[in-house]
């Protein structure tokens, strides 16, 4: 079955596209470094979010052309960015006041594991090496809505959506929606509630690759994403 899943599953770009559809016009948004940064590319026409980066910029735009980088103008992933009209600079304490103070509308983060109570593990595999946390633990307790984008299963085929995380936690009960390569799942009252799934996958097959019970509460819509 895993082979079949690999045939039908969404690409990272498609997962990012789906997450972008839920960002409202004028929302203040923080995108985690790496894969989540891709969400910015897929804002629906007519909507414009304002992007925040932990290192003190609000209202930044796309990456500059190669060779046009100014390395004093970077995002939290240390990638060069550009400014949109109406942007602002501020120091790190003010930046995390925005985060921790509940001023961001949404944070979209990657995940190693998400539990059905909303616990998130995305900073450490717990296997040693050099630990590094960055701003992840702040973001999960600050934004009004914390969403995760992730492959539904690991490369080894193990579930990433669990009854309880086995890896070190980033935050407790913080995630409210998960966009995976197979489905869109809300976390409500300590349960995974299936909202959308790829039309090509049966519910039972989806349940089989999910590490906790998938509840159905109302219609499960088709997860339809354009080729990208």
């Amino acid at each position: 079955m895993s082979a079949a899943i690999n045939d039908i599953k969404l690409s990272n770009a498609q997962i990012a596209w789906r997450a972008a559809q839920d960002i409202e016009d004028g929302a203040y948004v923080n995108l985690g470094i790496g894969f989540p940064e891709m969400v910015a590319k897929f804002q629906p026409a007519g909507r414009e979010a304002v992007f925040h980066t932990e290192n003190g910029v609000l209202g930044f735009g796309e990456a500059p052309q190669a060779g046009e980088e100014d390395w004093d103008l970077i995002n939290a992933g240390k990638k060069a960015i550009t400014l949109k009209p109406g942007s602002a600079f501020f120091h790190h304490a003010d930046s995390f006041a925005m985060v921790r103070g509940g001023h961001l509308d949404v944070a979209i983060l990657g995940a190693y594991q998400v539990a059905q109570n909303g616990d998130l593990a995305n900073w450490s595999t717990g296997k040693g090496g050099v630990p590094a946390v960055g701003g992840a633990m702040d973001l999960v307790h600050g934004a009004k809505r914390v969403a995760v984008i992730t492959d539904h299963i690991t490369k080894k085929g193990e579930p990433k959506l669990m009854t309880a995380c086995t890896m070190p936690l980033t935050g407790v009960g913080c995630v409210t929606r998960v966009y995976t390569s197979l489905a869109v799942i809300d976390i409500e009252d300590g349960r995974f509630v299936l909202r959308e799934k790829l039309p090509a996958i049966y519910f039972d097959d989806l349940q089989a690759v999910t590490g906790a019970e998938l509840k159905v509460d109302g219609t499960v819509r088709d997860l339809i994403v354009p080729a990208l």
């Binding site: 004028g26 209202g59 400014l83 009209p85 109406g86 103070g101 509940g102 961001l104 600050g142």
Partner: protein, 235 residues
């Protein structure tokens, strides 16, 4: 995104009876007189007002109090050149007062905006203003635990504003304004001039727009100090 609002009355329209309202300014410097007077025109009652002072003369916050709109003042210094409006009501037991040391007031508001529910300060330790508050020792010194302060609304006076809500302030009129902008669920700013997006250098933005819900222009704002020297009365 366009947070500009054409009329002062429209800007203050969401403020209902019973709201907690932070109002920027230190004395008359940075006091959003036009927004306050628009709020008086609207006339919500039973408000809790947070400001450094408790009004002066018969304009601004003093006029709000005189109109019977204010149930409680949270401030550090309810005295002024002419504090009669507040003083009379306070001595008659008709208005509540929560007295907070000025630096603690600023820090509590900043904490409200920054998601810090409580912090420790040396200020007020061993005084009447620390009564009933938890105390803790750090590095051999005693500190008082203070809680964050948030509001339903903030009325702010800026100098320049843009449609995204970015603000600058004029000289010492900055004072509590940038803090209060962060600590209210809904922040309403009056500015002397609205400029297009990009009209404020991003390095010179003092209040980033994320903290501001609406911006309205009061091109030649009144100065409370001058109104009081003219013995002005509002309404």
């Amino acid at each position: 995104m366009d947070k500009t609002v054409a009329a002062l009355a429209e800007a203050v329209a969401p403020i209902q009876d019973g709201a907690t309202v932070m109002i920027g300014g230190f004395g008359g410097s940075g006091a959003p007189i036009e927004l306050i007077h628009a709020l008086i025109d609207r006339g919500p009652k039973d408000l809790s007002v947070i400001n450094n002072n408790a009004g002066n003369g018969h304009v601004g916050i003093a006029a709000m109090i005189e109109q019977g709109m204010v149930r409680k003042m949270i401030c550090s210094f309810p005295r002024s050149a002419d504090p009669k409006v507040f003083t009379d009501l306070y001595l008659a037991g008709e208005i509540e007062l929560e007295l907070v040391p000025q630096g603690t007031l600023a820090e509590r508001i900043r904490a409200g905006g920054a998601g810090i529910p409580a912090f420790y300060t040396p200020t007020s330790f061993g005084t009447d203003l620390a009564k009933g508050k938890p105390v803790a020792e750090f590095n051999g010194r005693q500190y008082v635990q203070e809680r964050w302060l948030k509001a339903d609304f903030a009325l702010i006076k800026g100098e320049l504003g843009d449609p995204l809500g970015n603000l600058t302030y004029r000289m010492a009129a900055r004072n509590f304004n940038p803090l209060m902008a962060t600590a209210a669920a809904h922040t309403i700013a009056q500015v002397s001039r609205i400029v297009p997006p990009g009209g404020i250098d991003p390095e010179q933005v003092v209040t980033p727009g994320i903290f501001v819900n609406s911006v309205t222009e009061a091109a030649i704002p009144q100065q409370e100090e001058i109104l009081n020297r003219q013995e002005a009365v509002y309404p």
